[in-house]
Symmetry: C2
Subunit: 773 residues, 2 copies
Amino acid sequence: MATLGDIGLAAAINILSAFIFFVAFAILRLQPFNDRVYFPKWYLKGLRTEPTSSGAFVRKFVNLDYRSYIRFLNWMPDALRMPEPELVEHAGLDSAVYLRIYLTGLKIFVPIAFVAWTVLVPVNWTNSNLEQEKGSNVTSSDIDKLSISNVPVGSQRFWGHIVMAYAFTFWACYVLLKEYEKVASMRLQFLASERRRPDQFTVLVRNVPPDPDESVSELVEHFFLVNHPDHYLTHQVVYNANKLAKLVKEKENLQNWLVYYKNKFSRNSSKKPSMKTGFLGLWGKRVEAIDHHESEIEKLSKEIAAERERVSKDSKSIMPAAFVSFKTRWAAAVCAQTQQSRNPTVWLTEWAPEPRDVYWENLAIPYVSLTVRKLIIAVAFFFLTFFFMIPIAFVQSLASIEGIGKAAPFLKPLVEKDFIKSFVQGFLPGIVLKIFLIFLPAILMIMSKFEGFGSLSSLERRSASRYYLFNFVNVFLGSIITGSAFEQLDSFIHQSATDIPKTIGVAIPMKATFFITYIMVDGWAGVAGEILMLKPLIIYHLKNSFLVKTEKDREEAMDPGSLGFNIGEPRIQFYFLLGFVYATVTPAILPFIIVFFALAFVVFRHQIINVYSQQYESAAAFWPDVHGRIVTALVISQVLLLGLLGTKEAAKSTPFLIALPVLTIWFYRFCKGRYESAFVKFPLQEAMMKDTLERAREPNLNLKGYLHNSYIHPVFKACVEDEDKKVDDDEKWETESVLVPTKRHSQRNTPAPSGVSGSRSSSSSSLRGASDF
Amino acid sequence: MATLGDIGLAAAINILSAFIFFVAFAILRLQPFNDRVYFPKWYLKGLRTEPTSSGAFVRKFVNLDYRSYIRFLNWMPDALRMPEPELVEHAGLDSAVYLRIYLTGLKIFVPIAFVAWTVLVPVNWTNSNLEQEKGSNVTSSDIDKLSISNVPVGSQRFWGHIVMAYAFTFWACYVLLKEYEKVASMRLQFLASERRRPDQFTVLVRNVPPDPDESVSELVEHFFLVNHPDHYLTHQVVYNANKLAKLVKEKENLQNWLVYYKNKFSRNSSKKPSMKTGFLGLWGKRVEAIDHHESEIEKLSKEIAAERERVSKDSKSIMPAAFVSFKTRWAAAVCAQTQQSRNPTVWLTEWAPEPRDVYWENLAIPYVSLTVRKLIIAVAFFFLTFFFMIPIAFVQSLASIEGIGKAAPFLKPLVEKDFIKSFVQGFLPGIVLKIFLIFLPAILMIMSKFEGFGSLSSLERRSASRYYLFNFVNVFLGSIITGSAFEQLDSFIHQSATDIPKTIGVAIPMKATFFITYIMVDGWAGVAGEILMLKPLIIYHLKNSFLVKTEKDREEAMDPGSLGFNIGEPRIQFYFLLGFVYATVTPAILPFIIVFFALAFVVFRHQIINVYSQQYESAAAFWPDVHGRIVTALVISQVLLLGLLGTKEAAKSTPFLIALPVLTIWFYRFCKGRYESAFVKFPLQEAMMKDTLERAREPNLNLKGYLHNSYIHPVFKACVEDEDKKVDDDEKWETESVLVPTKRHSQRNTPAPSGVSGSRSSSSSSLRGASDF
């Protein structure tokens, strides 16, 4: 048990390290040569350019203005200054709402901490249970005197804890309700005020059924011409262009090198640059570099053209999915929300993700495969959560002295040296576990990808919920009840439903000091370390010194990163869980959590404004998950308090707690019904309003031209941009009214409406566009 | 423990009583004066009239043709003869699919019984576990020798049971999958082949938000004109006409009496019929009956007119709900499946139920109230299930000798007489419980009504699922583990998750003989009793003798009843549960279940063809529930087998069973994804197909005239039929294009499309129609 002194020491160490991080950050960020590491977002937005000071050469790299160092914390007010609407404008709604999670934490826990300290701490403190027990073998810290452990068994004072549990729950629910309302209205406002975006008009159609007579493209067109006759505009089929993407990337790389050599040649035109053709230019025949690259690019271009031809001709490379665009947002909203076909496993429609949010590889998974994949991943995740220690233990045993001796006898003399022996024994097992934990989010991401989600945002959301579960079982329960998750599972299924919360509940107060330390290390120092951007800083300077050849390379060497919802959000949720669980048990933990939320809020606000560059914009689609997990934490805390009080023989007061989880779960369902649809459905009223406004403002809008090529595979995209002049030809196409002749006999009789401008022209033109690079 | 002899006796008794019921039925149904009791459906369809034999007067009441008695079972082949498509045509899809539940039972259990008897019975029989234990205090019957109890602890033979569990599960899932597929396609075909019905074009809109400037009707019209401009046709607001309904009913009753007296007068014109005005005509002033009734009707008509005026004028009697009709099925399908407004708790749209399926009282419940009601009912149902014995025990204590003595001392001398004493002691407690159980479905129905469902079919579905749960807890678990449900609950929450299935699993084999008797009493004799229609028979003849005054009364004295999904389906499900649970444990029970399914199939097929008259047609919307409950029974049986084998120390073989529930649950989710949407969503493809066909066949269809008045409260309906001639005037109305002037300033700017034929004309005409009775 840690005493107050121990905790003070830990706090001092962590505050100091946080302070050091901040000072280091303050110094590093002011150096011009780090500018691209600490302000990449402004570069990407084109709002900031290389600091070109008119002074000495050295000024270009080092900031010599001493005044700027004095106010080393002035980035904090700067970060807080930008108002929320501007932040939404600047960084997108996802980031702005992500910050609201921290704000929600503050809103919930500041009043709770205040009330807990004024009510519960005196209630606990004025007992002498622990002192009486000191005669026995129970050791207790000063922190424990503030906790529920200090209240004697059977005391009437537990009524205080129960009333507080109700008060905290109602306050938390109130804040959550308000936040859900606010976020939902922010989302709707964001969607409403957005500029025209292709995904507003577009629906992703998956599982197009195979047809012997018609190609996927023809089939899609016929289907939507028949079933949405007045609304269908155009469509784009999805190609399996993975090989092509590889080739294009290779070509880009070569082109980059070509630029590099040309630059070199222009600077020193006396000597033509030369290179070796072998691995990394280290060996092989020496050739004239510019010519070599030009010929290589030529060759690759041909290859790409052939591959592109193959992709566009070969029906096998067309996946049974398509992006179907409509003439109005209303029609797209209708199509996304309705079932198209009698068979609910084909012609699946969903709102199309943003073009940059699409995860192309997964678009073609058939329905049956999807359900099988779900089962496999569910089972796999169960084993990962509860049995992950088994392979780790195996690797750890390999990484032991005996293991190394057996596996690689020739290393035996080496590892038996004292220094190496102690390293192997002391650090290797820990490092093995740490490496696994570092790779865990990546493993979870791979699982989500295998499961078949079609957009990056949904992949991240899924990974986040898995990560939260893993954390809950292995970090929270694992810390409270020592022992591996598997042992816990085994003991839980052999315990009765009422004993499980008791077992955990009893252990909770004893672990308060452990979690306080955890919060300071992971929450305080960890968050302060985040702002230093150590990894991107090092990588940027390494790349800058060795690899950067062109300006474009320098652009690419910047690694702004993104919020990393799948890692960051479960981490925040862990603090919510700790806060709720300990609010009634050991309120002393709350100030530490509040400091975390406040610090993280400022740090991540700064990062979002200056650094992170989001890959996609899901318009806060993750909020229902966030809300759900906070409510889960609330219910867990209530059940554990129930278990804890059950052991305290507070028989009269405990039953009053049972209503609390029931009410909380009802609150969750209420919120779900009330707000969730704002995140998953698309009200027709809104769509109609935007359509009408747009029609009034731009009556002659060429929507087809606008949607043209918006949903083609990114590998086609780069090249299509050069083709913009071609669009003019397409315009001509569109004025004609094309009716695609069907090849199938039975469909000839269906009343295909006439006069719909041909989508085929568009799909074929997108191919043509792609064919020219 | 019952021996084989006991079971044989019970079987003999029950077979005999079933036989007696069938003979009684055969005799009664051939008597012409019972014709309306046993063939009401044909009367209601107008396909059968009073048997008018030309012979003697007695022939009109008694069938003297001895030949017709010989073939007393010939109704059975008759019942089986009608092919399924014709049955669908004759009795609706609901009834036809309801019969498929029995058929599913046969399909699942006949092969399972065959395999179980050829494999498991020999495996169990050739052990001698029970004989060895006979020395100890375990008593066993011959039935038990065929059961798993006869296999000694730790035997390798349990592998056989596990393999069989897999085989039975796979077979059951296969049958379920095929059935789901078949029923889904039957439903889609039924919906597709149906004649034009108002609900195909109509959407029920609930929670119309209040508006200070506009009435509900105007608001609905504006909203849909703006948001579905090309599709909106008309709408009908919902009136709160409960008082009006009462008055109309009263008037109908008086009119009936008037006819009766007029008939009487016409038969005996010498004396004008007179009556007394007091209660039931027993006392009061004697008046001239015909005049009195005519004046009363006159008075009521005025009252009705005033009330109707009030309902139609007073905005408070207009509920915030409306039936909105569209020009095409496609548009209705779109509107029913999409979210209309930014706020997901207003403008809730759902596919309108059939007009006769609407439960009018619930249409106006606001969203928040709905969620609160759900919570209340969930808690109430929990208490009803687990604590219903408490009030029963209280009433039983009141109904005891001492209780009566205390509550009503003047009865004391009476109840202390020997005969009455023994009756009170012996029967009253049982009767109290029985009365409660008889009223249980009604209580559950009231709970569902309170919960706020808007259609009769959904009310019945909800009640059925509650009844199933109640049966499972109180009949199944209650019989296996003796003790009240509350005691079980108490012991379960104090047992570990692995102990609960063990506790139940161990008790299962011992209860086999009890359930065999239960099946024979409830399943065999009970089903045979159903065909006798004893209650409707008695009531019909009572009414016919005393109350029937006119031909219309006779029509109304028939009580064909309906299938009673909320009572019947949970009862069938109980047999599925027993079948799955005992298939691997005591296969001897299976033949009894098969007999039940076969008998019930024939009996209910006969009843559906000749008797029942369904109140509504939901197109088999209940099948997902049926499927879900059968799968639940399967999972329960697997978990219980797992528990049972756990106690048999079959440690090696038991873990192989764990995969089975996981796979079964996955199967459920797969089926849900694959087929459920056929029951809750409405594919646009189908809608479009029907629309197109219709447009081709009847290009000049006046849909508005067709939908005119289809969704008005039943109380208006009767009167509107007289007004059909008025429709012609409305047609004129419709040709004009009416644009409703909005009163609200802000909406004046919304781009209301012009040229939509006024729905106001329709709604006001429905009022006008209603105003004339």
